[in-house]
């Protein structure tokens, strides 16, 4: 090898920077071209959608934030004539009524009891929903046995602990919304499991009873069940026996939710491979033991998303108790929006917007959770 060739020899030691891709293959422009303007109809669709957003989003933003009134003591703060500009949501109204929205007419010195109830419930819910939580068996006992008893003692009053009684007609707002949904879930899950087992039972009468109950309840609107609970239940009890006014819709909601829960659980039972049943029977397990140790733990696990979805439905349906005169969140808003102190054109919408935000956060959170569980379960299946 001579020196000339050696000097001409060229080996690049470091990599050349890659040339940037053509502008229309990568980057925001290309992305837009691919995802928004890939064809003429698509482009038109995109433009139409953008126009739709232009029509909807700015007024909503203006209502919720830009034109909203945040502080004030009465309606003068929220009227366009007195403020001198267009007024959106009157959040001052919500701020003024927030305690009523949360506690209803629950006596003020006793409201700490409601707060404690919320905390206890939150612990129970977290324990049940967190799939890796320690001692979930204990959690179930806490949620389905301890919590209901504690809550009743706490909210309704218990003399030995010097908790003065608070009549249910004073309960209201978010408290009632939560109580109704909590009773719904606590009662409907066990009863729904029983109904689902009954529907798949080999005993004809048990099956018949379950089918009739489930199909009947699923065939009628909740509002008729609530009306029935309100007007007919008292007639069916013997004279002198009365049921608390809050208790009646609770019974209605619980029965109603049970039927829907039963169908969800039945889906889980049907999805169990036959081998699981056969295996359990081959081991000589009795029916209750087979169900308790083998089938239900697996079946309930795969229907968690379904259960959560049913619960979301239940949570939304609790608003119907407002129609039969129970002061849940919706009803407290309905009662507050006619307050002459806050009579402005946007008061009603503000109240509804507040309720919408509350319900959306709760329901959306639950549906995210159920999606997460679904994905996790799907991952397990794919393995």
């Amino acid at each position: 090898m001579n020196a000339a060739t050696e000097t001409l020899h060229f080996v690049r030691n470091e990599q050349v920077e890659a040339a940037p891709p053509p502008r229309l293959v990568r980057g925001p422009l290309a992305w837009m071209r691919e995802n928004l303007f890939s064809s003429i109809p698509n482009a038109l669709l995109t433009l139409a959608t953008i126009y739709l957003l232009y029509v909807i989003v700015p007024p909503v933003l203006r209502f919720f934030i830009l034109d909203a009134v945040w502080v004030g003591v009465d309606r003068d703060a929220c009227r366009a004539e007195t403020v001198g500009r267009p007024v959106g949501a009157c959040w001052a109204f919500v701020a003024d009524k927030i305690n009523y929205f949360i506690y209803g007419s629950y006596p003020i010195p006793e409201r700490w009891r409601v707060d404690v109830f919320f905390v206890l419930l939150a612990i129970g819910v977290a324990w049940m929903l967190w799939l890796n939580a320690p001692r979930r068996g204990l959690g179930a006992i806490y949620f389905f046995v301890v919590l209901p008893i504690l809550s009743v003692l706490l909210l309704a009053g218990f003399k030995p602990l010097s908790l003065p009684p608070v009549q249910t007609s004073l309960w209201g707002g978010v408290l009632v919304t939560i109580v109704v949904s909590a009773v719904g879930i606590v009662f409907s899950l066990p009863f729904g499991v029983l109904l689902a087992l009954g529907r798949r039972s080999k005993l004809p009468i048990v099956r018949l009873f379950s089918v009739v109950f489930i199909e009947f309840v699923r065939g009628v609107p909740l509002i008729t069940v609530l009306f029935m609970a309100n007007t007919m239940l008292p007639l069916f009890l013997s004279e002198g026996v009365t049921i608390d006014r809050l208790m009646r819709p609770l019974v209605g909601v619980a029965l109603f939710a049970s039927a829907y829960m039963a169908e969800v659980v039945r889906g889980g039972l049907q999805a169990m491979p036959k081998g699981q049943y056969e295996g359990a029977m081959a081991l000589g397990l009795s029916y209750p033991r087979m169900m308790y140790f083998i089938i239900l733990p697996q079946a309930l696990r795969i229907v968690i998303p379904g259960i959560v979805n049913t619960f979301i439905g239940l949570f939304k349906d609790t608003t119907l108790v407002a129609i039969v005169g129970i002061f849940d969140l919706i009803r407290t808003i309905e009662a507050s929006r006619v307050d002459p102190n806050w009579a402005t054109p946007t008061t009603s919408l503000t109240g509804y917007a507040f309720a919408a935000v509350f319900y959306f956060l709760c329901c959306w959170g639950m549906s995210r959770y159920s999606l997460g569980v679904e994905r996790r379960l799907a991952a397990g299946q794919k393995r």
Binding site: P107, I108, L170, T242, R245, G325, A343, T344
Partner: protein, 339 residues
């Protein structure tokens, strides 16, 4: 099996709970319970409305307090149960409440086929209309073609139909389940006219965005005798409710007020003596103590005081006594004599 157990338990509970309480024993039940259960209107200013702390006020509410005072010598042993127009009678029929004081109209069908009794009329009312001033209407007869907001499940709904039919006027009815919804829809412009009992019109007008924009038309299209309601079966209880009202009327007629009732105890007027129980045993005859009327007046006051405080000049409603003046002043309120 679990289900079987659960159902058995429910059945047992139901049958154990089935300890019969006689229809005659409302008073005993109330005494035993220690509170009077009173069905009230939760949203009618002047008649029955709770504030944010759950303190109830109103003419009807004070009537319940008067019964409580007569029985317990304490006007606060009342539990108010908020009822809508739709479920008020069921609540009474089922025994959930002892007395319903919720501006309910006494009618023949309610008296006879619903198993109810109307022992007294504590407010003589009639149905009227409210319209916007800008409409330029001076009489209900000019309302042809109007749309009218009303509350369903009330006599109002029926009277409305009768009025427009009798006058051969066309109209469009929009019925809502609660008074609040009804008025809000009217206020929002859904209807030209809003109809309910005249007293209710004044109370609801306060809730309008601009109360001064609305006027109440002069026509009264129906008789609405409003009063407390009890179950049909228990006459003793009906007597207590009736005489509570008459005691308040007689007190007003005799000039006994909350303030002077203690001095009146020393009065020589035999009528006052009989009413306040210093003479005769009229209270015991209805199962109460002889100073029952004294207790009512001491804790609540006479009818006139209660009226002025809640719906009259002492209130925001500023309703005239009118038909509800004492018979001695040309009204219809006539307390039967205690004798």
């Amino acid at each position: 099996m679990k289900k079987a157990l659960v159902t058995i338990a429910i059945g047992l509970a139901a049958s154990v709970a089935a300890t019969a309480a006689s229809a005659q024993a409302t008073l005993n039940a109330v005494k035993q319970r220690g509170t009077l259960q009173c069905g009230a209107n939760p949203s009618l200013a002047g008649f029955g409305v709770p504030d944010a702390q759950g303190n109830w006020t109103g003419l009807d509410v004070e009537f319940c307090r008067a019964i409580s005072a007569a029985i317990f010598n304490d006007p606060n042993k009342v539990r108010f149960i908020p009822l809508s127009a739709k479920d008020r009678f069921t609540a009474l029929q089922s025994g959930e409440i002892d007395v319903l004081v919720r501006n309910s109209t006494a009618t023949m069908s309610r008296d006879t086929s619903l198993g109810l009794d109307f022992p007294a009329i504590n407010y003589f009312d009639g149905q009227g209309f409210m319209v916007r001033k800008t409409l330029g209407v001076a009489s209900a007869k000019e309302l042809s073609g109007a749309s009218v907001c009303t509350q369903q499940g009330t006599t109002t709904e029926l009277n409305l139909a009768d009025f427009f039919r009798a006058n051969n006027l066309k109209y469009e009815v929009v019925a809502f389940a609660t008074a609040d919804e009804t008025f809000k829809a009217y206020d929002a412009g859904r209807c030209d006219a809003f109809t309910t009992d005249a007293s209710g019109l004044y109370a609801e007008r306060l809730k309008a965005t601009n109360p001064d924009d609305h006027i109440v038309l002069p026509e009264i299209i129906s008789k609405e005798p409003l009063g407390p309601v009890v179950r049909h079966a228990d006459n003793q209880w009906g007597d207590i409710v009736r005489w509570t009202h008459f005691a308040m009327l007689n007190a007003e007629e005799l000039g006994i007020t909350k303030a002077n009732v203690d001095q009146m105890l020393k009065s020589d007027n035999p009528e006052i003596k009989r009413l306040l129980g210093t003479e005769g045993k009229y209270g015991e005859a209805i199962g109460l103590t002889n100073d029952w009327a004294y207790r009512i007046i001491k804790h609540v006051g006479n009818y006139g005081e209660s009226f002025e405080r809640n719906v009259g000049q002492g209130s925001r409603l500023k309703i005239q006594r009118g038909q509800n003046a004492l018979w001695t002043k040309g009204g219809l309120q006539y307390g039967l004599p205690v004798r």
